[in-house]
Amino acid sequence: MNGGLLFYGSSVFLMVMGIFIAITGKHLIKILLGIDLFDVGLNLLIISFGYVNGGTAPIFSKYPHIFKNVVDPVPQALVLTAIVIGVAEMAMGLAIVMKIKEKFGTCNIAKLKELKW
């Protein structure tokens, strides 16, 4: 019952459910929601990789700092970027979904099959 099961478990669960929602969703926004869940799960997984037992946040408010057991700051920096990129993708995707609704009249993915074979 250590922390690993909690964080790894929930992040992998989120990724699995995210993909599943994206694959079986009927509405375009449901698919984007699935991808968003997958990204949240992935970010959670990356941060939980960086965790060090007993570590504190990498912010040293007191100076001179005494070297203490600190959590790995690099994954946090990467996730910061990943979150912003995730939202940028989401915004573009939603713009396309809105235009599809305007042009196709419906948001049902099954109707979005004009380009095939």
């Binding site: 669960f13 040293f60 920096a77 910061l80 979150i83």
Partner: protein, 227 residues
Amino acid sequence: MIRKIIAFLVVFYFGYILYSFIAVNFPFGERPLKGVAAHYVDKGIEEEGATNIVTSIVTLYRGFDTLGEVTVLFLAATGLGLLLAGMKEEEKEKPEPTLIMETTTRYLFPLVLLFGTYIFIHGHLTPGGGFPAGVVIATGYFMMFIAQKQFKPSEYLLSATESFAGTLYVIMGLLGLALAFSFLANVMPLGVPNTVFSAGIIPVIYIIIGFKVGSEMTGILAHLKEA
């Protein structure tokens, strides 16, 4: 129905592989800091002066990434604008915002902006930096979009601040290149750690990012509102 089951089985198997791999190879919490991370933690403050190591990584050590990230946001804003330009707005009647909402948002709006500016000015000291600050400002505007009937920030102002902040960011980078022969180098004095005017160009960058992200996100919300 069958497709759902097959999809679930494959995705579940994907999750199972992922979980079994990471549980075996990267046990939770037992990974000591090594390599680059150890360097950042040890020398972070001497080299960059910011007490918040994550901020110094985001803005300086990996400043080029953040420049790319800002570009991604800028890209999303432009792409959204391009796609949604000319969408006709149906005149569904919008519910009238109640008096309480209108007045509270009018008073709350400056506080939210103040909170946002506080975050990006203290980016290098306290957690949270340019990005959340910009988003907080944007949510302030978002609140105004919902609550006020005819609140409409000027389109030109937003794209002007956005471009201006962007060019300023690149100029900061070029400054680093000119003075220290390396793009985005920390050319300003580091000052005393843990004080507001410290850690060289980090606060400047975070201020720029704050403005940029704020105006961009507001622009995105404005486009979405009209479309």
